[in-house]
Amino acid sequence: MTPEGSILSGEGLHKHYGRTPALDGADFSIHPGEVVAVLGPSGSGKSTLLHCLAGIVRPDSGSVRYDGRELTTLPDAERSALRRRDFGFVFQFGQLVPELTCLENVALPLRLNGAKRKAAEATAREWLARLEVDDVHGKRPGEISGGQGQRVAVARALAGHPRVLFADEPTGALDSLNGERVMTLLADAARDTHAAVVLVTHESRVAAYSDREVTVRDGRVKEPLAGL
């Protein structure tokens, strides 16, 4: 059953890697504009939950519904198209194409979606400015700091106006100051664009930017008890 008003939901998700269970009947839902932090210890299955919800990985069983459509039965091409059009992603590291400049990196999802280069780069430039990294637009990822790189990645994730932003440990490779700055900019930008954010983290400080927290443990999602 899809929770009322949610844009994305997962129900009874099971996923094994070989004989190792990653998800064991996980349920999840998120509403438009909502920021949900997915917490949990290392190896608990939170990244796998994100991958299943984003249509990157097909669960062994269970249902993922996005905007009224069942994702698990969609062919790969349609899931890819959905990710291009409606989703955005921020990962911990290694996500920027090293050969492209920061501007080209941000414009990449737009261009993959069919936008003309100039239009895509104009939008990208706006987002770089919004994330306060417009001064590095002509540089390559190897020439900028980790914090700047992560802000470029956030700009890239949001440039296509996604309806859902998936962020997997977005500050995991940053120091606390840079982490705070990235999270502030990410959360503000997401709220401005009314994008839902699935925020996977193991840091409660990062989770504090969310509207709601869920915890993944042994492949199951647990909502915190009301009032706690």
């Binding site: 291009r84 290694g94 194409v97 990449l108």
Partner: protein, 803 residues
Amino acid sequence: MTLLDTRGTGNRAGGPPHRPPGGPAGWLRDLALGARFAVTGGREGWFRTALSAVGVGIGVAVLLLAASAPTLLNAWHGREKARENLGQLHEPRASDRTLRYAQADTSFHGDAVRGRLVRPDGAHPPVPPGLRRLPGPGEMVVSPALRDLLAEPGSGPLRDRLDYKVVGTIGDSGLLGPQELTFVAGMDDRSAGESYRIDRFGKTFDPQPPSARLVLLIVLACVVLLMPVMVFVGTAVRFGSDRREARLAALRLVGADIPTTRRIAAGEAVVGAGLGLAVGLLIFLVGRQAAGAVTLWDVNVFPADVLPAPALAALIAVLVPAVAVGVTLFAQRSVTAEPLGVVREAPVRRRRIVWRLVLPLTGLALLSSLVWEPDPVWFRAVRLGVGSALLLLGITALLPWLVEAVVRRLHGGPVPWQLAVRRLQLSGAAANRAVSGITVAVAGAIALHMVFTTFQAGFAEAYAKSAARPVIELSGSAADAQRTRDALATLRRTPGVTWAHGTIDALAGRAGDRGTRGADGHLSADSATVVVGDCAELRHRAPIGSCRDGDVFVTEPRNGTGRAPGSVRPGARLNLNPPDGYGEAGPARPWTVPDSARRVTAVRHPGEDLPGDVLATPGALSPALLRAPEMKLRVGYDKAQETAAVERIRTAAFHANPGMRELSAIDNPHDRQYAGVRTAVYVGAVVVLLLIGAGLIVSTVEQLRERRRLLSVLNAYGTRRSTMGWSILWQTAIPVVLGLALAVTAGVGLGTVLLTTTETGVRVDWPVVASVTGLGAGVILLVTALSLPPLWRMMRPDGLRTE
């Protein structure tokens, strides 16, 4: 310091500090550790080592083949020398240990058949290598290839011609190669005039030095063949350098210093090179078994002949591992393994063209100087080899600059194009290295093809011109006029023959002229040609008018006979045994041209012999008086049935006199020679292109593996597989297309210079240019196609998992 040097740290037991071995012992330990890394990296490590070994192995095999060329040619020439005797300066007297020997070469559908006739004078004649005994009259021993040819259904005319009884097979020691067509037959009276007496086998003089053209081709072929292989060896030993660097960084973390990491890297490279030596030896040993099936430039040898010269083989065994280690260390010159990772010290510098032009321009200058300086062959060969090598090496130096200059200017375009261009802008070195091999191979192949095509076409035109008239000229010894008449009669009866004429020709000197001896010891004198024939035959040499047996004519030259008018006049005294040869002059055989001899006007027809100075009928001059009288026959045939008629004429001529020599332009031997070499060059180019294609595939897949996580992220973004596929296509295509453009320019340029040095008209083999560049395009598609499955495998979400 060596690996795990704990100098100054002491040991846990509190005893004196433990010092690991330094100096050579420590170095050896580092090298051994590197060697262990080469084989203990699991499946991946083995794959890398195996790849290096295959690359080095192919290089070693080619080098061993090249090193076998001198031995191979020596063995080939040695067997020819051992089995032949072209005549002794002082012909021995007949004895129990002598034999009469004659040549009886023929050809069958363009294949040369070497024939020798023998007739022992006694019971113990010398026997040529490969034979147990000399065949008797009516018998012959044949080479295995001739035996097979004779057994073929279409060889009827040849069986008719060589109507001897086959009594044995010639052994390998009597053959130049397994495909040689040769026979030794017992001599009968038909060949007695052609024969000479010998008392041993074995030539006493050395063959002529190779022609400038041949030297040019051999040197250039070696340069063209070896350079791409060297480039490939360079590429092969760099496979997996990223992982090697990561491992060295880890070693630095546990205390290894920089020289130690270099030694460990060298040790790792030595294993690949050592295995490569073994693989190369194996490829060489297996490959040489096919030597018997290959005929290149009429040279066909036995597998055992393909044996590298020991000194060169030792050099290869030492140099190849050294080069492999050198290349590995050279590749690391700008890389320092630090404990937390690898630091690339070389700043990104724009490549400059100035010094890159030095190599090709020097090569071009060396080659151009060959045009106007007539030097000795060896000096030309050195300049040719160095010039060609510098020009081709220069291409490899120019290519990175060209790729960088072009790629730097590229921008915009669709996403795949942008990804590819940016990738090349950031690090195009690996692609450049691999493509430089393609460039050298294609440039070399185009240049060689240009040279071969031009030579081949030149011969083809000349032969076509000569063969326009359906005529075969035959010559052989003629003891008397009747044999010539008989030969003509036999030929006229042969189906397909339209006409046949012939005379007996010989040289005569001035009476009293003892001749002059040249610097080489050869005795010669001014001579005139005496032609003996029936009136009907003489009419084909000059318009003699009325004639009957006993008449003599002297010719007065007209248009371009090349002789001063009136050199032989009626009443002139001639010597029919003029001094000629290396020995002493024989006794004079005087003969006076009758005063009654009539003067006739000689007209030389294009393509025909000189008409002769004295034309005599047999009644006036007996051929028996002449020195080395030779029947000269001209036979016309029906062009419509050329193939069959020509073989029948050859058979008729062989039966008239097995020693009859043919002079015709029907079979163009050069066509086959050049076609064979062109095919070999083409096959070589294809193999090199495939080799380099394999290198490109491996380096592309390596790049993909290094970018596994990025590919997974791009997949998460919904990037289409086709987008990444096209990006790989462009990434391969851009340098290859630029490399091919450079190769075509350099190849045509090199070919033009080479042809100019040999004073031959320049002719570009455009179909070959098109096909070789097409092959290059095929390599691009192949590399892309084979890179797609790993690409798609790596675009799976697995790369996003960190736990």
